[in-house]
Symmetry: D2
Subunit: 230 residues, 4 copies
Amino acid sequence: MTTPWDGVITAEDERRYEKAGFGRPSGIGARPALLIIDVQYRTLGDTPKPFDEALEDYTTACGEVGWAAVDHITDLLAFFRENDLPVLYPHVAPKQSYDAGTLGAKVPSIMLVPEQGYRIPDVLAPGPNDVMLPKKHPSAFFGTPLTSYLIGLGVDTLVVTGCSTSGCVRSTVVDAFAYNFKAVVPYDAVYDRSETVHKVNLFDMGQKYADVMSTDDAIGALGSAIGRGV
Amino acid sequence: MTTPWDGVITAEDERRYEKAGFGRPSGIGARPALLIIDVQYRTLGDTPKPFDEALEDYTTACGEVGWAAVDHITDLLAFFRENDLPVLYPHVAPKQSYDAGTLGAKVPSIMLVPEQGYRIPDVLAPGPNDVMLPKKHPSAFFGTPLTSYLIGLGVDTLVVTGCSTSGCVRSTVVDAFAYNFKAVVPYDAVYDRSETVHKVNLFDMGQKYADVMSTDDAIGALGSAIGRGV
Amino acid sequence: MTTPWDGVITAEDERRYEKAGFGRPSGIGARPALLIIDVQYRTLGDTPKPFDEALEDYTTACGEVGWAAVDHITDLLAFFRENDLPVLYPHVAPKQSYDAGTLGAKVPSIMLVPEQGYRIPDVLAPGPNDVMLPKKHPSAFFGTPLTSYLIGLGVDTLVVTGCSTSGCVRSTVVDAFAYNFKAVVPYDAVYDRSETVHKVNLFDMGQKYADVMSTDDAIGALGSAIGRGV
Amino acid sequence: MTTPWDGVITAEDERRYEKAGFGRPSGIGARPALLIIDVQYRTLGDTPKPFDEALEDYTTACGEVGWAAVDHITDLLAFFRENDLPVLYPHVAPKQSYDAGTLGAKVPSIMLVPEQGYRIPDVLAPGPNDVMLPKKHPSAFFGTPLTSYLIGLGVDTLVVTGCSTSGCVRSTVVDAFAYNFKAVVPYDAVYDRSETVHKVNLFDMGQKYADVMSTDDAIGALGSAIGRGV
């Protein structure tokens, strides 16, 4: 059987986690919401192209792997719109002069992204009732009113998509788990700049915090969970 | 040059992060605190022994790699005690019947640890002014008053040790970064059940959230930062 | 019509809030939980007695008004137990040497309460599935995993009881409101050391954050909301 | 001696708090920051005028008492600018269609404020390095990155000004206290729509969470605390 972490996580790694009892599915609730995190030109590049070329658009771009994920996020977005389920867009707002802090020290290039970099591709354009969540930190929960929106909307499950797998996606999934929301990570709807890092972070999330599956499987499982065949 | 992630992170991975501008040091402030996270028999095993044998003590044990880290944490603890700097012990308290939630679904064995498993080894025994922080979730910040203690103590830097590298250590480091605390992760003072996972999580933290170095280097750098040669 | 703030809030005060559009009811959801906050001997006194005598038991005691509230909380607790609805006990745990901080400076006597003071009266004794929440700060949400428990339990409404009206009750209600939980404050099931302060805080909560009503009315409204006549 | 709560808090109220040991000063640290909360036309009215007339500008306006406070906040702002100390502006951002939630139910008029209402008067105009903090909830800490900014800036004390005394000011002060920041509330630099409510909330904050004093006294005390005579 192939897994999303083939070639990086060894059989011995998998054996240890299984023996310790990790990795059971946590399931999907009756009221899921879709999070589309940081899917902005600054993480994609202005058009689909290899990593090194995308880096010339923005130093934070991941390139082709990002655009491939956009296709899968588009499918998920269609499912959520059809079923009138909540969609939220945690995203990075343009940096201000007062935003340097620890981040500016650790990753200085992040302070210099032009405005186009903050735009969301048209194919994923937010609708009028979608919740826009500007954020300053990796997790979509940190320093934002995300929890309040989810409680107000009665959400019990988060489908987490976007970028980067090891950064904002993972930290959001860890917080979702801590808040007792169920979390689903469609592995082909999240992206990162390194394949090794991408795969190990998917493994970590699947073992401890979330159900990791393909977008197709996620749409099937969501359909069943909300009582609607797909 | 060897790195703590040799053999897992590829040269291409490293090249990409460097080209994107990640991985700059964030430095150490004048008022560091030591976090000793989850260093309890349940994550170590009752005595130093190989992984599979340790698992017979507790399904959450990491075995020998944990006990090796304890030696390095002991050195750090001595440094913090000598310099009268704050030490805090985020730890898992015995589970209650009302604690099942999402965690119980995802990792059922975590609900069944005997009391001895929650004890801290004598060599790292907390002193009367150390802060004990029972926690229910991965990050030492989540659902605990850790931030309040750190602000009250005037702390600006966290040295994060313990277990697991990919779990409570990493999520604590991500939150420390989000709160604008500087973070140091001594790579030989943290431990996990899989070497692959351990290494990639060290790489992730070093690229984005923390300064990763050996315990010896950390003690040297801390000595300089607080104005005292070692 | 009498109100819980008669004699303190003036007709002109009421007129201003009404004209500005405050004070609409927010209602009760289908899944309420009961919070019993800080109902411990240290806030009551060891037996029902006047304020000045209760102060000789504990400097934090409110005296007779507290014991009167206990009777109403008992009625609410019976309702929640009969209907198998969640009950949570945010409470103050015995202070540790490392707990002084700002609180020790502002209210030094709070550091010196004997162990009996932390006990909960038998009539309100927690059951095995009730959630115990030790806290260090006024709000039951601050530095505790309360939000995670509420999300895990699917709660949408909090009935907030206990002590003090102006302290832990009010700050919990403000946070509940911020998280988008509906909140109900039964005015005869909360208590404080000053009648003026008690009344104005009830008014503030009723105008901006919660539905304020008698325990009898609350039990009636809860019965309707969960689809069960009383 | 006159107090900011004369005529509402009784001598018996004061006696009880004193006997219980409340109300000790917590002091001012070496690194204060100024918070100017919600001082926008929507809470003031477009020009200084009586309450009922201001209400015709915005249903959330407080009128003349707000403009009187603006004069004192201006003095504090000058002090902070002269001493190059941090200034932060928690404020309400224009409501979006997805913002109704509990707030919309409790205070519907808050959803309908025109854009001019969100502007800050020129005399208090933010400078390029001041931190702008849009917020959705009463406390300036809730769902915002305020704590991260304060830690990054090394702040230990908050001077809290603006509006309303019983709403955003008080909930911010309670959270500041919980985070172990020292807090100062200049009673003539905060405002509310009811004098009774204003006074009792000042009393509550002074007894439990903050040092309450006049703007003149605050400027004097701040000058001493940062090592500069005024």
